[in-house]
């Protein structure tokens, strides 16, 4: 799969063979259009990058009316990443997408600021469960919850959203980071901080997947710094049922196809029947299938 925010709505990378993808996860989509943050929005950091795009998106209505009909003609499923400031906004976006042809599922981005409390849904198990349960009640769509790693106990959040009805979790979203321009004596990003992605966070993401996969019974989608097939295999061995590629799409648009082929070659080489044979531990959902 290609991770939210790294593949737009699937229309901007004509050089990518979409049939090589397991799924496309869309840019974070909110109820109303958002213009995003003022520049500067991105900064390269050692083996990674920071971004603070600010959820620039055309709003769910455009997504449902303009994009979804085009997705419906594609062979690859498109999962819409849903963001919001309140439970009501998540529910409204999910309701608008429920039953829309071309929308294969939802991924809840619960790392956004909650203006009501000043907290983020994703850092509190009760709030994470509340938004998951509310969305679950209005949609039959596949429901993935994308976990933020900026928490003390990611397993507690994962368990909470599982209990609230999530079909899967993706682990993890970006880590909060900062970069400072020493010449200007000012943060590079206009927001001061942003989300760190890329190989710099891969060991951290892998650890989160390792922890979560052992403790939940729903599939874990591994994401964070995967640059090639070997990285993806690490996540699958750690217990992920699937992986998302993010930052690498900016560098090598054909990376997903390479990873897909690389995993296949590994299975053949090691005489394994399928990806379900990969996890090192017999834990989580993969021991039950």
């Amino acid at each position: 799969m290609v991770a939210s925010g790294t593949f737009g709505y699937g229309f901007d990378a004509p050089q990518v063979d979409r049939t090589a993808l397991g799924a496309i996860v869309s840019k974070g989509t909110t109820l109303r259009p958002r213009e995003g943050n003022a520049p500067t929005r991105i900064a390269e950091t050692p083996s990674g990058m920071l971004n603070a795009i600010g959820l620039q998106n055309p709003g769910v209505d455009s997504v449902a009316r303009v994009y979804a009909p085009r997705w419906a003609t594609w062979d690859v499923p498109v999962i819409v990443n849903v963001a919001g400031d309140s439970v009501d906004e998540y529910v409204a976006v999910a309701s608008r997408l429920d039953g829309v042809a071309g929308v294969a599922g939802l991924e809840l981005n619960i790392s956004c600021p909650n203006v009501e409390s000043g907290l983020q849904f994703g850092i509190d198990p009760k709030m994470a469960a509340e938004v998951t349960r509310a969305v679950r009640s209005v949609t039959e769509l596949l429901l993935i919850v994308k976990l933020t790693p900026n928490v003390t106990d990611i397993v507690a959040i994962a368990r909470a959203v599982e209990d609230a009805g999530a079909d899967a979790v993706s682990a993890i979203n970006t880590y909060v980071g900062t970069a400072i321009d020493v010449r200007r004596r000012h943060p590079i990003l206009s927001r001061g901080s942003g989300g760190l992605s890329g190989p710099a966070i891969k060991p951290l993401a892998l650890h989160a997947v390792w922890q979560v996969a052992a403790e939940v019974h729903i599939p874990v989608i591994g994401v964070g710094g995967i640059m090639g097939a070997e990285d993806a295999l690490e996540f699958l061995l750690a217990g992920a049922a699937a992986v998302q590629l993010g930052t690498v799409n900016y560098v090598r648009p054909q990376a997903a196809a390479e990873v897909h082929d690389g995993i296949g070659a590994y299975l053949v080489e090691h005489d394994l029947p399928n990806m379900r044979a990969l996890p090192i531990r017999r834990a989580g959902v993969l021991s039950h299938v």
Partner: protein, 273 residues
């Protein structure tokens, strides 16, 4: 968009001006496809870097399958690129974005500040091929950082340096002011087309000067430089303020844009040159 799949081959490496390197690549599909002002994303393998580097093609020659890139050596990525030599391979993504609109019959003034000059050799060549009168105003901090005027064959080249070591002592925008009003402007709004690329403070000074002279911003085209992630419109990292609110994407709406589309009042805050 035509996307290069096979790598380009470095066929020549030179130092066109102090602090800069010019790589000449052999890659016929790119040399044929690129329009003046478009850019490529160059893959670099410098340790600990991750993103591609966006560079406008300095020029291209479809007949020989070659195209050139001129860049300053300022960071890890450009240092790595500057270390490439004849025979090395380079992975290109592109051509990307919008080039300059070269149509029209009015005199064209190309205003280049610093490394902004890197986009102009091919632009000037294409303008002259269209029979247009071309004036190049080139500014740099010091004389050795100027791209030689011989790279703009057929154009009237005027120079400016901050320290006065070549041409006008001061900003290249001062030189431009000499063309408003006559002789070229003849006091008529939009009697010339201006194409420009350079640091943000130079661009905002140019826009201020144009406004004072009541030159229509629609007669000015800017090759915008912003931080860039993907180069193809997915990361939304290369936003620049749009006139009237919201943001443009340098990679898709630009890099070459008419100046009246840009929210200049917010540009200085966003990009510090």
């Amino acid at each position: 968009m035509s996307i290069a799949v096979a790598p380009a081959i470095v066929v020549e490496r030179s130092v066109p001006m102090a602090g800069a390197v010019e790589l000449v690549l052999y890659h016929p599909p790119s040399a044929v496809a690129v329009a003046p002002g478009q850019f490529f994303q160059l893959a670099v393998s410098a340790p600990h870097t991750i993103l591609r580097r966006p560079y406008s093609a300095a020029w291209s020659d479809p007949a020989s399958g070659r195209l050139g890139f001129i860049f300053n050596v300022v960071g890890a990525g450009s240092s790595w690129l500057s270390g490439l030599d004849e025979g090395d391979e380079l992975d290109l993504l592109g051509p990307l974005g919008q080039g300059f609109d070269l149509e029209g019959d009015r005199p064209a003034i190309c205003v280049a500040g610093g490394l902004g000059v890197a986009v102009f050799p091919g632009v000037v060549r294409a303008l002259i091929a269209r029979g247009r009168t071309v004036i190049v105003l080139e500014g740099a901090r010091i004389a050795t950082q100027l791209l030689p005027a011989s790279r703009f064959h057929g154009a009237d080249v005027r120079l400016a340096t901050d320290d006065g070591s070549a041409g006008h002592s001061g900003s290249v925008v001062d030189l431009l002011a000499q063309y408003f009003p006559p002789p070229v402007g003849e006091g008529r709004v939009g009697a010339v087309d201006i194409l420009t690329c350079g640091p943000t403070p130079m661009l905002t000074a140019l826009i201020d000067a144009a406004r004072r002279q009541e030159i229509s911003l629609s007669s000015i085209q800017v090759a915008l430089e912003t931080p860039m992630g993907c180069g193809i419109g997915t990361c939304l990292g290369c936003a620049a303020p749009r006139a009237g609110g919201g943001y443009l994407l340098t990679c898709q709406d630009g890099p070459c844009l008419r100046a009246d589309r840009i929210g200049w009042d917010l540009m200085t805050d966003a990009f510090h040159g």
